[in-house]
Symmetry: C2
Subunit: 500 residues, 2 copies
Amino acid sequence: MAIRLLLYSVTFLFSSAISITNIHPKFPCSIAKPVEKLSLSTKTEEKYFTQILDHFNYHPQSYHTFQQRYLINDKYWGGGAPNNSPIFVYTGNEGHIEWFAQNTGFMFDFAPHFKALLVFIEHRYYGKSIPFGGDKEKAYSNSTTLGYLSSTQALADYATLIIDLKYNLSATHSPVVVFGGSYGGMLSAWFRLKYPHVAIGALASSAPILNFDNITSPYSFNNIITRDFRSESENCYKVIKGSWQEIKETAKKYGGLQKLRKSFRICKNYISPESLENWLNTAYVYTAMADYPTPSNFLNPLPPYPVKEMCRAIDDPKTVNNTFKKLYGAANIFYNYTGNSTCFNLVDNSDPQGLGGWIWQVCTEMILPTGGNADDSIFPSSKWSYNDIAQFCKNKLNIEPRPNWITTEFGGHNIHRILERFGSNIIFFNGLRDPWSGGGVLKNISKSIVAIVAKEGAHHVDLRFSSSEDPKWLKDVRRKEVDIISKWLSEYYNNLNDSS
Amino acid sequence: MAIRLLLYSVTFLFSSAISITNIHPKFPCSIAKPVEKLSLSTKTEEKYFTQILDHFNYHPQSYHTFQQRYLINDKYWGGGAPNNSPIFVYTGNEGHIEWFAQNTGFMFDFAPHFKALLVFIEHRYYGKSIPFGGDKEKAYSNSTTLGYLSSTQALADYATLIIDLKYNLSATHSPVVVFGGSYGGMLSAWFRLKYPHVAIGALASSAPILNFDNITSPYSFNNIITRDFRSESENCYKVIKGSWQEIKETAKKYGGLQKLRKSFRICKNYISPESLENWLNTAYVYTAMADYPTPSNFLNPLPPYPVKEMCRAIDDPKTVNNTFKKLYGAANIFYNYTGNSTCFNLVDNSDPQGLGGWIWQVCTEMILPTGGNADDSIFPSSKWSYNDIAQFCKNKLNIEPRPNWITTEFGGHNIHRILERFGSNIIFFNGLRDPWSGGGVLKNISKSIVAIVAKEGAHHVDLRFSSSEDPKWLKDVRRKEVDIISKWLSEYYNNLNDSS
């Protein structure tokens, strides 16, 4: 199987429909905030911390430092000693930290209630937190410089920065709660497990920490997307499922590519069945992840319940028997909800969120088997193959993945048995509409390592800014989360008083 | 203050009495097994595992591998699946692994009871587990090669090796309990905290995990030695305390050095007051650590209760008013209990246990403030100074320590509050005669993170081979430990049956 890399970006990482369904990590998965709340999040102040390049070794290069960016908002903070008001920290994922700050309205919404300081820490090698003098071209030039981009280094960065920040704010006794969504959610859960002396608890939203090794089926991801569309309408599912063959057959015919180009209003005179399939696949996958109950702006602006909207377009009686018209209508929901586009590019080289480093992470440790498609998948059936990833990574980056490292370092196998008597204070939120939920923790592990599951929810919907249009289930989820965090804080303050 | 490095060995790391009391890390602290039990421990088989050089990064050098040695004994093992008999793993410290295997009779003594597999893993850069092709000269030649010697890498080595070993033995469901004494004890406790998915519990004996930052007073270590000697006899304490000044004054006099050389039967025609003070200091420190109730062979053979024996020599009425005769008698207990030596070398360049790497660890992350001496110390009063260490490390190794790293990575501050609701299944054993006990966990943290304290005990005495002469308190300690480990195993098997 040929795997071509089109973009140095996670969002549209791989070109062919086959490769995307087999390999595509489909991270990140954050959503933009509703426009009316922009003012809140922009009130953060940008700061920098001198961070060490390599926490775990002592060779000369490991002593290099870089400027790590973090955003801070102290508007609601009750202060350090003697109040010891809490500090809420977002453990940044694979992109500009502003993007995650803007998309984690939960922290802004509840900061006044908790009198919390808000801190959003940027992940090394993303945004403005670039080692090697901030020179991204140099940092990304080869494995000698990019080799320090890893999840364990990122976690140690967060620990080091938080301890220093608390010290400088005279807030050593202020409890820290960490938050994260998607990869950031994995980091927040792992942070609580590895650094309990730094964070008293973690809200890990849509964190597929069980999507490694063979813990979760590689079919799970696409099974959930299939279920999402099928739940809206059986016809919708059937039309999409049948469309892949129709595209292939059309492309083979004389004038077929031209017909496809016209049907999907492709701007440039370039089209291949693979690029079209990939373009459509991307639309379905991200729409499933962003199947929120209110308007959102994930990678693109979307209406409420966009999967339903896609299926409405496909089921439109006016396009009876014209599959391409139906698909075009569905694609319009994802690619052109504002109605401003008159034509589309199948390949988009832009990377506004700065996600370029993710491919490195995918090719080193973030081996998330998600690309399998069962016979009844909405996508063409296929198997997931580790060897395909390994070959791709060798060809493109000359790097060998370490597929067992994440479970070696962080666990995952038999997690209920292992954490039943170890650890505490983690909330795992998952929405079952989210394809990543298959790799999430969906059942309570212990009294204080709990799962909150919303069957109507999509990818870290709980972390979004609240809105008056939020459905009851979403309000309930957030209320539960706030209650649990309140309990952690009460326990912490009780202990603090006992020991002082 | 001048600090001279005499030996590339932890045992006699620094030359002057001042520097030794200010800086000397005084690790390792293991004890040799009684001779009659030798046959048991030599029954281990030597094996090697291909280990990755750098678990946390992905630059080209991090992919290098080396052969990591481990010793294994399956004589008592009940086997992997379906019996799932336990695996006891010793997390090796800073020396040849045979030495630690030979000195951890506890594991051999109780292996039959538990039907346990015994595994002793050698710490990277020690013994035969040398990166860079096993070429110790190369591996130790500079910071570029030695820079991968760190505690976090060692822990990740253990996780990686154990997971692989269990897989190869068809024993993935066999519970692992880790054991360690001294630095190895710190590693075992940290291993349980960081890798709960690999080890179900840890017996951390004499692990001074609180001897970092300012958690434990730098005076604690020598305070305990002072207390040990004083508890035997006030006169003994006073003679030693007064002797430092007498040595100094004698050395200044005409013929004084010659007098000291004769008094202490120094072989070679070299002596300085500092080397003599250091030689005596070493004897007192290690005798306090090895103040066991039965004959032992720590660095040197010792009688039961050697501190008492030293004080008996000092209090000997036959040497009234002759301080040097008294000190000589005491030194003979530590340096010449077999009576074979006719004269002594103040400086010993041998390193039979292969402890050379410890100075690197002391100068990078293992900043253990122990060298302070209060006014009533048995040693000359002095302050502990981080700057002295930093200067020493800069001069000798051109390396800058990271004095806050251990508490950043592993915690330690407010440990009771933090681990009260986090983690489980750790036994912290400490004997209060052990100078390291001041940096140990001496009170229960939770129901399953417990402290066992023996006021009569010395440095990881519990891990020694049992003997018919063991006092009741020592038998009680071991019985408690066995009971607790049995409980961990029962809980594990109950959970395993529930979930299968």
